[in-house]
Symmetry: C3
Subunit: 204 residues, 3 copies
């Protein structure tokens, strides 16, 4: 079981991280919209917007048609996250503050920092480019969700949110620079990002 | 006459819809700026911005240089719409509320939903991608015009504005899925969008 | 000395103008952030954002991966401008109002109008496209810096700011239309833009 997971992760790290990120961020975005008492359509829109915004910006920066527009699977994964949030909201009054949602946000941040670093590296950008694209991929969804919810997008300036993705992107680049295979670099990026973010949340 | 129009429409639906949309949206955007008492330069800027914003975003999403930057004809068509608005304003104090402008807005919405669906289909995106690009192409101009006029961009959330373009995009995709030629799919998309929008306006 | 400079300018006008623009706009953006009492990290972010925003938008419009993500030299040049601003702030309480900063802003505006005109011409866009891309390249950085500093982005509507870049872009296009070599067209664009801007500043 663990062996199979590792084989998949090392075989196609982008697919694994992209799947995890889409479900996690759609769950978080939809939970925020549930909290604001949006109707079901609005909940789905905010969830999908949070799941897609970072990746669409990433794809525009490396000059390719956004994956969210090309792959039908992307929308289905986003809707899985939305359904999870709607299900959670049957039990919880404030699903966006539940520990499961907070962890999902950290996991999504790490997964999308990793997809950003992978795509940017494949596009042949500089080290600065890899870290920048990883960070934009990771924080873009949350920033757009806040704007749609009419909140201040200053979540971008929250200490240790974007910074975690920056350091994850640095870890990906550094792993590649010392000759690590792509799967290991992806694991390092995700581990650094999610670890730092959870420590930051735990310490308030 | 009708035969010639149909031949053109079925021959190059993109050119027909693009021409109609540019003139209509430039007219609407310029009329709004006239209402806000902008000077002539400001009226032209808002009119051209409303005419171009949706198509530029569409072209960026499918990774091509915006048509507005490549084709000199685009600017001329936009200026025709601006001139119409300036002409109307000599007779009307509130040209943006005149039935002709309201109809032009619905026609522009339908024309640009259709150009978006055509370009997205040519770019080989998914069904979700076709509907998304059609909608963004259709509503992008009005959203930017509102921002330039310092109004809330919540026109996007007006019931049955974006929704009309969504359903038009679905009609385009469905027509193609059952084997209809491109000209017929374009006609279906435009008819569904403009029909729904006019019904929505009539019912308030 | 002057001969060497001219040779470089005529040899690769893009490289010269891009270098000048990056240092100048990073200096201006960082000076504004110093004035607002941002910490060192914030000063560097605003400086780099002002240096890069116009060029990134330009590259997205002509469908290529942003140079700021591809070339490591870009970041170093931006950091030179940031360092200059931090150095100036040791002597000056309001470095953003010092004549050197005002001149740097005009010089950056001219340099980036020129890089925009060069890249747009190489991409084969229309005359309207050349002027539009030149203007966006020139004013994009200042607009983003104002947004990051939580000021109104209406600096775009300041008389004779964007207009100088528009006329510089027209000069570039006109020089090319009458058969002038690229280096001469670049010099004309830069001279027209910086000259008009400095006259506008001098006259208040």
């Amino acid at each position: 079981m663990t062996g199979g997971l590792l084989a998949t992760l090392f075989g196609d790290p982008f697919a694994v991280m992209n799947t995890v990120g889409l479900v996690a961020f759609a769950l978080v975005g939809a939970s925020k919209a549930v909290r604001e008492e949006f109707d079901l359509f609005g909940v789905a829109v905010v969830g999908l917007a949070m799941a897609f915004a970072g990746g669409v910006t990433r794809d525009l920066l490396v000059s390719r048609v956004p994956l969210a527009l090309r792959s039908p699977v992307e929308v289905l994964l986003g809707l899985v996250g939305v359904a999870l949030a709607v299900g959670l909201s049957a039990w919880l009054a404030t699903p966006d503050e539940h520990p499961a949602t907070v962890v999902a946000d950290a996991v999504g941040l790490a997964a999308f920092a990793t997809t950003g670093a992978i795509v940017a590296t494949d596009a042949g950008v500089s080290a600065f480019g890899v870290v920048t694209v990883a960070t934009i991929n990771a924080v873009g969804g949350g920033a757009l969700a806040d704007i749609l919810l009419d909140r201040s997008p200053f979540i971008l300036f929250e200490d240790f949110y974007a910074s975690c993705a920056v350091l994850g992107g640095v870890a990906y680049w550094a792993a590649g620079a010392v000759g690590a295979p792509a799967g290991l670099a992806a694991a390092a990026c995700a581990a650094v990002t999610v670890g730092l973010r959870l420590v930051a949340v735990a310490r308030g």
